[in-house]
Symmetry: D3
Subunit: 248 residues, 6 copies
Amino acid sequence: MRILIVNPNTTSSMTATIAAAAKGVAAEGTEITAVTSLMGPVSIEGYYDEVFAIPGMLAEIAKGEKAGAQAAIIACFDDTGLDAARALANIPVIGICEAAVATTAFIAQRFTVVTTMERSRLPIEHLVHRYGMSARAKVRAADISVLSLEDPSSNALERLRSEIAAAIREDRAEAIVLGCAGMADLAAKLSAEFGVPVVDGVTAAVKHAEGLITLGLKTAKRGAYAAPVDKPYLGMLDGFAPAAMLNI
Amino acid sequence: MRILIVNPNTTSSMTATIAAAAKGVAAEGTEITAVTSLMGPVSIEGYYDEVFAIPGMLAEIAKGEKAGAQAAIIACFDDTGLDAARALANIPVIGICEAAVATTAFIAQRFTVVTTMERSRLPIEHLVHRYGMSARAKVRAADISVLSLEDPSSNALERLRSEIAAAIREDRAEAIVLGCAGMADLAAKLSAEFGVPVVDGVTAAVKHAEGLITLGLKTAKRGAYAAPVDKPYLGMLDGFAPAAMLNI
Amino acid sequence: MRILIVNPNTTSSMTATIAAAAKGVAAEGTEITAVTSLMGPVSIEGYYDEVFAIPGMLAEIAKGEKAGAQAAIIACFDDTGLDAARALANIPVIGICEAAVATTAFIAQRFTVVTTMERSRLPIEHLVHRYGMSARAKVRAADISVLSLEDPSSNALERLRSEIAAAIREDRAEAIVLGCAGMADLAAKLSAEFGVPVVDGVTAAVKHAEGLITLGLKTAKRGAYAAPVDKPYLGMLDGFAPAAMLNI
Amino acid sequence: MRILIVNPNTTSSMTATIAAAAKGVAAEGTEITAVTSLMGPVSIEGYYDEVFAIPGMLAEIAKGEKAGAQAAIIACFDDTGLDAARALANIPVIGICEAAVATTAFIAQRFTVVTTMERSRLPIEHLVHRYGMSARAKVRAADISVLSLEDPSSNALERLRSEIAAAIREDRAEAIVLGCAGMADLAAKLSAEFGVPVVDGVTAAVKHAEGLITLGLKTAKRGAYAAPVDKPYLGMLDGFAPAAMLNI
Amino acid sequence: MRILIVNPNTTSSMTATIAAAAKGVAAEGTEITAVTSLMGPVSIEGYYDEVFAIPGMLAEIAKGEKAGAQAAIIACFDDTGLDAARALANIPVIGICEAAVATTAFIAQRFTVVTTMERSRLPIEHLVHRYGMSARAKVRAADISVLSLEDPSSNALERLRSEIAAAIREDRAEAIVLGCAGMADLAAKLSAEFGVPVVDGVTAAVKHAEGLITLGLKTAKRGAYAAPVDKPYLGMLDGFAPAAMLNI
Amino acid sequence: MRILIVNPNTTSSMTATIAAAAKGVAAEGTEITAVTSLMGPVSIEGYYDEVFAIPGMLAEIAKGEKAGAQAAIIACFDDTGLDAARALANIPVIGICEAAVATTAFIAQRFTVVTTMERSRLPIEHLVHRYGMSARAKVRAADISVLSLEDPSSNALERLRSEIAAAIREDRAEAIVLGCAGMADLAAKLSAEFGVPVVDGVTAAVKHAEGLITLGLKTAKRGAYAAPVDKPYLGMLDGFAPAAMLNI
């Protein structure tokens, strides 16, 4: 099985963290290809950053599908551009928020997502609602920047820990979801530390992707995810223009 | 990986259908053990039948966990006894309705579950609501009995087909979910026939079970799924009494 | 009028408390028959216990209906097996959570259910949601065991009081619902003490049962509560087997 | 027990129908006093009519409570002025829509309210939503005027029947709620005719009122139903002025 | 453009505050006519007061429409009688709660309404839910009487300030809505003080009214707001009787 | 007042239609500047097209705000990029779906949005849900392309008419919302033809924009719409790079 993971921010060190986590859970025979988008912000923090991350992400998905990927994962917890990617691709596309929430719902009735910045809290709450979990999941922000997760001198991990503790105590969370792709390496350690299941979206998405591939399921193409209409797109950068992506 | 599938009805020919479907999608190295409950109705059609199917199902899960199963699947689309099984077991337990719905949500925005009898329609609607999908999924009954699915002389398959066609036409369903474990062998054929993704819960659950095992995730034990309290249970049949199940 | 009350746990001292409360509010001419289930746990605390309590409860309802009961009450606040009992019986069947919530909704806009153990909190929240009251009612657990309510040396009553006080102060509860059949004797005393209406489900259910009998209303038998299909049930204990219950 | 029923429209022949139905279900020892409002429209059809019906209804409730009524029923299916009446009175006050819906929820999972005029459909839908039943109940209008129910030469009954038939066939209604106080005499006949439970709000409310009285429950007075503040009300008709009602 | 503002309480000093605020935002060429109802309570605090305020308010709207008003505003934050006014009038009618909430939704995702008395909190929560904003807006009461807003010796303003501070801190409110017509003069000052947008419903409603007039939009007259049926209304005060209002 | 309208598709003839409609309702003294995005698809039909339309739209809003615009309108019914624009800008930004829905809610309880292509139906349904109107509004697609609205030889207008007729008949719509910026010139004509209010989002948005400007309200900047963080964005086209937009 060939699974493409696109890091839609342009920070390749984060892609490395993501790739390592993904490979750690991939089945034997699954080939993980993790790519960094060539276009967009170095981290995705809020609605504005999402916009500029999506074209680069879509370009990678288009390239990956042509190269034989059988499923794609968007490795940003905002599920940036997920609907557009599903319209573009025939292979299944999975967002890591959606993946984490679906996985956690199998093992806990009430859980809390702990994300990075306050400005990401409401977009994630909106996703959680859309995925049907607003009565079961709360969203908290640890008030740390995405890239500080990679900086050992920051207090990011400490703040994350303190927010997890608050979720367990105040929200009566039965499980924790890590709300940022950059936390993909922390799940096992934090689970051991807090004594509750801790779910990371990247690894959850890899298993869902393998499942969909094995089951032979692809994105439904009648309705909201019908293939884009062939039409002119003006003023686009080469390579990021829809025509190139759609191979038309 | 060792996955236990419990058919909570007592019809072993249906277990055979389920086992075959499950083995067809299991990863290399996954061992599927499919067992038939020793107690309860020969088919589960509505709230009343569920009651008598649960103790036998729980007994199999208890036995299976002791024997080394790493995840369990309840192979009835009513997700019969799912909450109780999660309280009993430490390993993750998955219902096939929950599994099918979670899988389908990755590939379609609107879908329809087609189940057997009218009396199962509302219980499944209730599950779909609980899984957060009431705005995305409709439920239809083909008005056939569960066991007629195994009877080639019945018109069960025809009625199922006609209800799928109605779902696509009237509900604008982008994908179809088969709402009975006894339909586990039909997904691929019907998908080819109708040109939309058709999802079966048994196979979907196998992939979710493998995912949870690989991710090292178990049922959260603080909150609704805390282990049962040790206490007397009166008048129970040997083997189905909680004491035997809980090994106390 | 002849009303059957089934205590679905197997502790007859609790049945006595329930019966006394029920008789205290029954109309002249109403005959209350309170029975203790012969099978199942001595108290019902969470999803697992519910399973083993239901067959014994159903057996009593079947017996009671044959003996002339005109309505039945399931006297456990989890409304254990309510749907199955409605499918089994032709007479109306009432759960005490449903009864308490329906009664309280006539006299208060916002109220809080105070139950016993934390593990019962989410199942009751789920019921409250199902009964359409999730925007109006909160659920709290006093963190006491069911049977401690019968033990004067425990601090159960104190903890219950302290949780009621918190509900009034923090939830702005206008009324309190007692979330356990074992609290049926406490409503009047606690209401006087706290100066807000305090509703108990057993007594509320008796009045709803009398109402339904007088109005000539029985469980609707088209749809979710259609009578069980006649079919084999394997491995059941005599007396708890559906055949015995259904008189087939 | 002394129960006051206020017909908030000013048509006394309808009060007679209501009183007869109420007395037919009252317990021995219950005294039903049915009064016609002295002020307002001869029938209540839509939002505008409600306004002018409420002061007269409140005046009757104030008089009734002073005269010793222990519970009051507002006999219009729009539950006209229910919140204001609860703020005014200390005794419990019940609306017949709320009563009918609460009663029906004990015996059916899905049901349909059939009311008179199209303009009343949305207000009743709004009530049904407020009572937590929007997922379980539909509302239909038979397109008849309220007073035509009293005119044997009209085709009102025929249209009502035809709408009930449509509800059973198209909504899969398991039970029917009659959505007008003027239909209080029709429930038994229509139930026999259609073979499903048919619930009338007036009789349902009488039984709920008796229940609340026996349980010693009164309207909660902290929060939304706190007693009105003593203050000047200008330009009011004698007898309908709050001062007279509040006895201040 | 001619806009009528009806203060449905009978305190003309409050009408003066409302009129000043309205005129301060009216477009050039817009004529604001602010009238005080001739009938009803001097302030509207809870469900009971609303009842007696509506007939007088409707009378003013009927008079205003006949005199050429092109839109009407009901200047009480409970949106007192809004549905009835829409049934009565052909011109658009706007409630100030609805106006404030609609305006704030354009500039903030989460906001808090701060109203006067606790007894008004639940009615406003109910409105906010009806306007589709229950997931986005909270409602708080500053525990002050409506008329104290006009009394410089009271501590009303202080308590309002303290509740706004709490909303910003605890609810993470991005904007504040002032929940009483009597606060119409405070928005700019409080916005400057707290550094968040503060929205007043009177001024918001003026702008919506101008918009509807310019767009040529009037209340839809098929469905819930169909014109009242011509019928007798008994016992009404002259001038407040529907016949006078409807000009029949 | 200076209002910027951005047509986020790159078809300037549609901008002309939009500008004409906007100017037709602007107040005296309001200056409307309508611009066509320089980048992206010639029409926006579904999720994929939205992605490529947003950067060009944001660039225009950044330019417009620097040039003195006091409010901005995004003239595509998908409210394409609305959240990102609100994060970018300090001035208020309005989407035409949000504007149309808010306006219609003042004059009708139930209404239907009629849009162009089926693939836009679900995205708009999602918006309607987000704006709190899912219980009040339905969405229909006339199955026409966006640009066919400009082609007099197509049958687009006929199909639009036929879908409006169906909405009135089957949805009991009290009002109609036109679900595409390209229909901005049709509202008055269709309203006259069908006898119900017909609301267009462009003109509605102009009036809301004027309102917000007059009220001195700007986008709330604490929470979801906090200004973007200053950070590198790689690989962007000059002029569409965030740095240029943010003036940093």
